[in-house]
């Protein structure tokens, strides 16, 4: 179940951020669903041949972002996205990051409509979750 985490040493991204980023992505793509249990810290560390403290650090970051929660003694689980608190500041921060992408795209000479197409096709990579939602409805 841990095939979706892959470590690249020598990258600009520290390993704890690689682990946290890939788990976030797996949740966004629906590969990990609400209530799924993350592998135990020691198990994932042994599997990836990385320091257990590095895995623990990644889990802490995910916990702080609300994406997962730890139940003492039983493990770390993917939280229900509906339960994740997001305030206006979070939305503003997200909008700002989108602005950065748009500015960069326009500066590269990409037209607005092509940029929008690009956004849609990237979004399609996260399509599974949309389908799940439709089924729920």
């Amino acid at each position: 179940m841990t095939v979706w985490v892959q470590i690249t040493p020598g990258s600009n991204k520290p390993i704890y951020l690689q682990v946290a980023g890939q788990i976030s992505e797996a949740v966004a793509k629906g590969q990990l669903k609400t209530g799924d249990k993350l592998p135990a810290v020691r198990k994932l560390a042994a599997e990836l041949v990385i320091n257990p403290n590095t895995v623990a650090r990644a889990y802490t970051i995910l916990e702080q972002s609300g994406l997962v929660s730890t139940k003492t003694g039983s493990g770390t689980f993917v939280s229900d996205p509906k339960m994740i608190s997001r305030d206006a500041a979070d939305i503003n921060a997200l909008a700002e990051r989108m602005d950065n992408v748009i500015v960069r795209g326009l500066n590269l000479g990409i037209e607005a409509k092509d940029l929008l197409e690009m956004f849609k096709s990237r979004m399609a990579g996260f399509g599974k979750k949309e389908k799940d939602k439709e089924q729920e409805r």
């Binding site: 040493p9 020598g10 990258s11 991204k13 520290p14 042994a46 041949v49 990385i50 320091n51 257990p52």
Partner: protein
Amino acid sequence: MSELVLETKGLTKYYGRILAVDHLDLKIPKGCICGFLGRNGAGKTTAIKMMLGFLEPTAGSSAIFGCSSQNLTPSVRQRIGYVTEGHRLFGWMSIGRIGKFQKAFFPEQWDDKFFADMIEYFGLPKKQRVKNLSIGQRAQVSLALALAPNPELLIMDDPTQGLDAAIRRQFLEGMIQLIMRQGRTVLFSSHILGDVERVADRIAVIDKGVLRASCSLEQFQKAVKMVRVSFTGEMPAEIEIEGLLHCRRSKKELELVLVGTDEEKIERWANMSKVQNYEIVGMNLEDQFIEYTEPVNHKGFQWE
């Protein structure tokens, strides 16, 4: 900081008039894997030999588990595993024999089954003499010898030097397996920063005998930054920004290497300094290490 396993205070070594280790104040907390980094000749091996009591310091002191390195008692030595640079082992002994030989130094903790299992896992012939082994096989024997006594502190001096990727990985796995046991600590030197990044959660950087950093890997990775800057109009002659380590100029741009300067401070500086544009460039651990240990104002190579 939690309980210290190893501590040096002003540890200094002169070889004649050459200063090899210069007032080293190193603290290694229990439970970490610490990567000991430094360029060739930085003083890593000399420091390690003093920590283990194999070399007398010119000044200063070192202690492991609170016991002076100069007078490590047999009971303290039993808690320490050591892998030498180049995996020097007695060539005339067979693998089985060298296991028994090592066991004599660790009568209480030595795990016969673990040693035998590891030798089998590596596919090594027990009756073979050590001198007939390849460097990789000798390294594997050396790893099994270091882990079989289940040491509380494992010190390895550049253990993966010259080894292939598969055997290097076995060393990393060995370190991870050891650290998973409660209260184990590892100090290892290496030039392969990708390996250090994988297994270390702490690093100590030594340069020309001087300890330049001793912190968590995360802190180091956050602290060393490179910023590329372009200016509106002329480039200023002097750059004043906190934490400036290197400043390189090209016709259009400045390249700054900063240590411990947070992004807010960079932005504030940029706003005050007629900066047209600046970009924080991503660095990996290797880039960070090279920049960090690069002599200040080093001009670099110039090909005519």
